[in-house]
Symmetry: C2
Subunit: 335 residues, 2 copies
């Protein structure tokens, strides 16, 4: 069935029926879908976190290799990652959906399912929304979260001497995108070195929310950001807000093994993917040097990749022969 036949209110009813709120999820929700606003209980001691992020067909995703569920997952992930980057937890989300008349109702259900799955996985619900007519699919998610004041992390707190750390491995999101764009989903092209997980980092990234909570509980973190514009682009945001510089060690950058294996099929050097790949949704943070030992006891994979310097806005890279070069930020630019 096409959306045109079901209508806006029919679609809203269908979403409510197919994706009900589990009883335990409603503790903080006084009123969910179905009124002019959702109503939530505020939590006295916490600070509120508020963010928004959008995905548009052909700009942010291409349906020749994204499933509708991937799109839903990715739309929600970007927002959860923003909350993780502040040290907080998500509380509730509202979703604006621009949908074409001719879209299949099943496709809208798969899209919503992706968002709903991510929300439930990370302990919150979609509590409101808006549906409107659009030639191309556009999804704007706004996410409300909260954080204990002592755990709040900004971009602006980096201190000279801090260790620069990053979770996980880097480079898969852009490398995966490049392979998807050049080979679509023809996996045979990559032979035995192929691992479909390399696509997942781009198609359905997992925000590092639980990891963020481990970090804020166990370490003395001074600044944090999620990698959405690329390691160097986002590091530069920390440097700008904190008025400091950074020295990175080339052999400490955690280049994804999948990217290294697939490098014969890629256009650039593996290191470049690790430095410039956007939409990684890994966490980049700086900690007091005293935390060096604590870093080794974490469940989360963390690499120490450099240190904060007093040379404001300067990013240097030290290679294995101890040669220093200055780096450019080169983040993703939309226009």
């Amino acid at each position: 069935m096409k959306l045109k036949e079901l209508g806006e209110f029919g679609l809203i009813d269908l979403f409510r029926k197919k994706f009900p709120a589990p009883p335990e999820a409603g503790k903080r929700i006084v009123l969910g879908l179905g009124d002019d606003c959702a109503v939530l209980k505020s939590y006295p001691k916490n600070l509120l976190l508020f963010t928004t992020d959008s995905l548009m067909e052909r700009v942010h995703f291409d349906l020749s290799y994204f499933t509708w569920e991937d799109v839903g997952i990715k739309a929600m992930s970007a927002n959860v990652s923003d909350i993780a980057a502040m040290g907080g937890l998500p509380l509730a989300s509202v979703v604006s959906l621009g949908l074409p008349k001719k879209m299949e109702v099943d496709d809208t259900l798969n899209l919503y399912s992706g968002m709903d799955k991510m929300a439930k996985k990370f302990g919150f619900l979609i509590v409101g929304g808006d549906i409107f007519l659009s030639d191309k699919v556009v999804i704007s998610v706004a996410l409300l979260g909260e954080v204990e004041p002592k755990f709040l992390l900004k971009r602006s707190g980096a201190k000279i001497g801090d260790l620069i750390c990053v979770t996980g491995d880097l480079g898969e999101s852009r490398a995966g995108l490049e392979l998807l764009q050049s080979h679509k989903k023809d996996k045979s092209a990559f032979g035995s070195t192929f691992n479909k997980d390399i696509f997942n980092k781009h198609l359905r990234p997992v925000p590092r929310l639980f990891e963020s909570r481990e970090l804020v509980r166990k370490l003395k973190i001074n600044s944090m950001i999620d990698i959405s514009d690329g390691l160097l682009g986002d590091l530069y945001h920390i440097l700008e807000e904190s008025c400091v510089g950074a020295r990175l060690f080339e052999d400490k950058i955690p280049i994804s093994k999948k990217v290294l294996k697939l490098s014969p099929f890629l256009k650039q050097k593996p290191l470049d993917y690790a430095l410039y790949s956007g939409e990684e949704y890994e966490l980049l943070f700086t900690v007091d040097r005293k935390d060096l030992m604590s870093l080794k006891t974490l469940n989360t994979k963390v690499s120490v990749i450099g240190e904060i310097t007093d040379k404001a806005l300067r990013m240097e890279m030290v290679n294995r022969y101890n040669k220093v070069r200055v780096l450019e930020k080169r983040g993703y630019v939309h226009f």
Copy 2:
């Protein structure tokens, strides 16, 4: 200058520079634009309100008669109206903007200016956002508000015997749109009866936020909604959520005098505009009968237009000769 030349981050910087936060507005804002999330102080005793609403070029607005500032005003108004409909006050907003590469930077400033003006008029700020590339302009606003638990108003509280009331006058939004569509901005067509205010209700509606606060403070309101789908469409939402019926009195419906004057230029009867005009952003509410005298002492213009009955989901209209007819809801349908 085109957006393409300025770039995404350039535009964000320009917004921050051109529309600074007045110092007194920042009381509740710990961190505004410039990090992964905005950070707000939560207010211990209040409930949070959370809503979203979008405008898309050609679907919701036509640039042959909307200025960019009108568009910004309207995008924000719809959301403020939702908060007003719950009895609350807005706290902070995040904005997702899909903008074409070739858009003039000045136009984006006018668009943002409309949103910023409305926010400041109603005591809050834009604290975050997302900008992305789009063929057509699309604006998704998410608004966070709060309400004292004793003032929270839902659609579901209407009681049998309640008086049905509405603020202001009705019909101008759709009548104005019709005149704009047929005559564009050629005011001469309407002769001396013309009043440009009839366009404003459609182009730059004013949400009834201050009025809502007077109502919740002075009356015992049982249910409330804002008129976005038309008087009858929205009354029907109250009836559905409250499992009651309604009887309206035809000669009590506050048809706008401007609509009456311009009726020779309109396609339908003035009453039809009052009953079915969407995007009026007036408040429709039901109060205990004991409040009849209090209604007369308000600063806000309120009309008592009917009463709640026990006939679930039935809407009746009584005309001046005491004849009763059953009404259809006919709200605005997007698909």
